[in-house]
């Protein structure tokens, strides 16, 4: 195995020329090193101004999503040796404004997450159990995969619809909406359906599912969006056929 590999890192700073460029850095290639380890090597030993987010380095905090050779990856899970002989091109995620170098502005998502009401909604007068809500393993299974979303934003970067229409609520927020709406403890699915129905993008989403392909935690947001289309269509027909609120 080679003992060195080259990274081409996208650089951008609004304070300077505002132009994007690529800087090349040669780093040692250790066994089991990830692209994130290489970035940290660069920051610690070569150029302390290279800017990126990271924290847990074990694929759970969701900070270190970037494009590696054009594909969305958590850089803490992208093995350097898989990219031999290099060079490896590292860029910020697509479809977000770039703050600096590899850091993107995700405040749009933070707003969308709040809009889908990602919390347990109980209707007034609902009876709350003294102890836990009983929830069988089968009931847990219905929403479990959606609960694995780490908000890493790879799906928004890969989403062709979000790229064209920033109003689209997007894959992760849709998955999290369904995560709560299919939880046996929740009574808020109609409220969330209203939020989802407000955004046109849902109807533009095809079943190609780039979002589900890039998800590092095996969530299937594409399926969530298709489920919404079915629910919304059913609700529409129900209102058409029974305008006085038949259930």
């Amino acid at each position: 195995m080679a003992d060195k590999i080259t990274l081409e890192v996208a650089r951008y700073s609004p304070e300077h020329d505002g132009e994007r460029r690529f800087d090349r850095y040669e780093v040692p290639l250790h066994e089991n090193w990830m692209v994130l380890d290489a970035l940290n090597y660069i920051k610690d030993h070569i150029d302390g101004s290279v800017t990126f987010r990271w924290s847990c380095r074990m694929g759970i905090c969701g900070s270190c999503g970037m494009l590696v050779n054009g594909y969305e990856r958590l850089t803490c899970e992208a093995l350097l040796a898989d990219y031999l002989p290099g060079p490896i091109r590292v860029e910020p995620l697509k479809n977000f404004p770039v703050v600096r170098d590899l850091v993107v502005d995700i405040s749009d998502f933070m707003g969308k997450l709040e809009r889908v009401k990602p919390w347990i909604i109980r209707q007034p007068g609902a009876v709350e159990p003294q102890r836990e809500f009983l929830q069988t393993p089968e009931q847990l299974e219905t929403y479990k995969q959606y609960s694995f979303c780490i908000n890493c934003m790879l799906c928004y970067s890969a989403c062709p619809v979000y790229g064209l229409d920033p109003h689209f609520i997007g894959p992760a927020a849709s998955a999290l909406a369904l995560r709560y709406s299919t939880d046996s403890r929740d009574q808020g699915s109609e409220e969330r359906l209203d939020v989802m129905a407000q955004n046109e993008g849902v109807w533009d989403c095809t079943v190609i599912g780039e979002c589900s392909v890039v998800c590092p935690k095996h969530v299937d947001p594409s399926l969530a969006i298709q489920e919404y289309k079915i629910s919304a269509t059913k609700a529409w027909f129900r209102n058409l056929l029974m305008p006085w609120g038949g259930k």
């Binding site: 919390w119 102890r131 009983l134 393993p137 847990l140």
Partner: protein, 580 residues
């Protein structure tokens, strides 16, 4: 400078901070709450907790047994009033989290499932497979979004507490995206910034675990309690230090040496049995298991690898179905980071720095000795963990004491004075200092990463699993040298936009202080207790040291160490017995 004012300010948006914020909003919806976090809250290190959270719920369990396990686990250094409050409240807190949507693993009939954990005499650890911290953090964060009154300053780094007339009244903080330095005032500040594992070279802790809140409190004059009590978790992956949960031993995993021998039987931890026995062998406490590893290494019975000695964690006999159901993340982590499939291969593991039992000294309401300053979670030392925390007690702790700190602060601010106008001069001075010492300084010659690495290695040599006066004093000398050299640190990056080298250097300034409190507290404690093992003082000494160390900042350099008595309520100090 931009100045904003709130009633209560949370520093840190992990489990403790979010729980405290919700408690405040529920106690008094009229209060103006703000949360300053250097990362988006859902990135906080609570996310990495794996195995579970202990709370009595099984019919055969009792609060007294949870209390006794915790106190004996702490080697009698825990304050027993804090432990009693903890065990009495944690079940209710966990149920609340269940009502907020946390996807706890269940029994077939839909009730909460519990698993065995180290040092616990009963099965009482609730779990969400092996992503418990992740699910708790996201449940808390997503639930917090319901409370519009919680204003967030995401990706904002607090550099200094503002103190007027002995009362803490806000912080100075840098907004990372713009580099803007802000003064954020409040009538009370709650520190919830997590642990400080990054003071050491080999840790399970995330990059962000740099003890920021401990340093802020210490600089403002609050004491740090029991800082010599750093927990080593017995099972981390070599090279990366990534945690392999104790839940894997709870489910029946074995620790074996190079001969395939379950070596814990040689260290007064019981006899091996095919299925796990509570408070025995692999389900012993973390301090004893990590110490057994070192002794096994000294006998030449560990394996040698490129990243140090290791032993094996064997899960193969659990089978693929159980591993995938109960420990899916362990399998994923082993495959991704060590190229090992635990279904077919043994996992190489070694002890790794994991959890700071010490921290900002607080009472059971989260109050520090400084008026208006609170702390909760790993940042704080209540103390319910004493000299050794039991696995699965920290997630419950952040709920119980996060909520208590929040509720108490909500009461305190009702009669507290408005922040003083004098704070603005302090804030302006802090801005000038940051510019002068870091952003505008171009020469000096010392690199952040070099000093950080030297500090980390000094700490491992000085204050590892076993310590002596000699190793600790050498560490103290090295730290003094590093603090001197730190004065000449210069950044490569002078940008205002998302300057992560600036946050690194500010973190390092705090870590150097924290490292000193660890070393000097360890020098002062001339006994062996829990995680603090002095080769030169191998016995526990209740006559002299049934007491908490308190490290105070000192303008003369090294911290001043005092001792304060432990609170004993119903459990007089006794022998810690495991496996017999």
């Amino acid at each position: 400078m931009e100045v904003t004012a709130h009633d209560i300010l949370l520093i840190g948006g992990g489990g403790a901070g979010l729980r405290a914020a919700i408690a405040i909003a529920e106690a008094n919806p009229r209060l103006d709450i703000a949360m300053v976090s250097k990362v988006y809250p859902m990135r906080s290190h609570t996310v990495s907790a794996e195995g579970g959270a202990a709370a009595v719920i099984a019919p055969n369990d009792s609060l007294d047994e949870h209390a006794y396990d915790t106190i004996s686990g702490s080697d009698w250094l825990a304050d027993q009033d804090a432990v009693e409050i903890f065990v009495n409240t944690v079940t209710q807190e966990m149920l609340r989290l269940e009502h907020w949507g946390c996807p706890w693993s269940r029994q077939p009939d839909g009730q909460i499932a519990v698993r065995p954990f180290g040092g616990m005499k009963k099965e009482r650890t609730w779990f969400a497979a092996d992503k418990t911290g992740f699910h708790m953090l996201h449940s808390l964060f997503q639930t917090s979004l319901k409370y519009g009154e919680i204003k967030r300053y995401d990706e904002t780094f607090a550099t200094k507490l503002l103190v007027d007339d002995g009362a803490v009244q806000g912080v100075v903080a840098i907004e990372l995206s713009s580099g803007k330095i802000r003064a954020i005032t409040a009538k009370a500040v709650i520190l919830c910034t997590g642990g400080c594992g990054r003071v050491f070279p080999f840790t399970t802790n995330a990059n962000i675990c740099t003890g920021d809140g401990m340093a802020l409190a210490y600089w403002a004059g609050a004491p740090l309690k029991d800082m010599e009590m750093m927990q080593y978790h017995p099972t981390g992956l070599p090279q990366t230090g990534i945690l392999i949960t104790e839940g894997s031993r709870g489910e029946g995993g074995w620790l074996v040496n190079k001969d395939g021998y379950r070596y814990l039987q040689d260290y007064d931890l019981g006899k091996p049995t095919p299925t796990p026995v509570l408070r025995s062998m692999e389900l012993g406490p973390r301090d004893r298991l990590s110490q057994a590893f070192v002794q096994e290494m000294e006998k030449g019975r560990t394996l040698k690898g490129p990243y140090g000695d290791y032993v094996h964690l064997d899960l193969r006999h659990l089978g693929e179905k159980k591993i995938d159901e109960k420990l899916p993340m362990v399998r994923e982590l082993c495959l991704n980071y060590s190229n090992i499939d635990p279904v077919h291969q043994m996992i190489p593991v070694r002890p790794v720095v994991h959890y700071m039992m010490g921290g900002v000294s607080t009472n059971v309401n989260g109050e520090t000795p400084l008026k208006g300053l609170y702390a909760a979670g790993e940042t704080a030392c209540v103390s319910m963990n004493g000299a050794n925390r039991l696995g699965s007690n920290s997630l419950g702790e952040l709920l119980v004491f996060g909520a208590r700190a929040g509720a108490h602060a909500a009461q305190y601010v009702t009669g507290a004075p408005e922040p003083s106008a004098r704070l603005l001069a302090q804030a302006a001075d802090e801005e000038k200092r940051i510019n002068r010492e870091y952003l505008n300084r171009t020469s000096g010659g010392e690199r952040v990463a070099v000093i950080r690495e030297e500090m980390q290695h000094a700490m491992e040599s000085a204050a590892g699993i076993y310590r002596t006066r000699k190793t600790l004093e050498e560490g103290a000398v090295k730290l003094a040298e590093l603090k001197q050299r730190f004065m000449a640190v210069a950044l490569d990056d002078h940008s205002r936009t998302f300057n992560t080298q600036l946050t690194s250097v500010l973190e390092l300034a705090g870590m150097l202080e924290i490292a000193e409190t660890i070393v000097h507290s360890a020098i002062a404690r001339e006994e062996s207790r829990g995680a603090h093992q002095r080769i030169d003082f191998p016995k526990r000494d209740d006559q002299k040291f049934l007491a908490h160390s308190l490290a105070y900042g000192n303008a003369q350099g090294v911290p001043r160490i005092e001792f304060a008595p432990v609170t004993i309520t119903r459990w007089p100090p006794g022998e810690r017995v495991y496996g017999r």
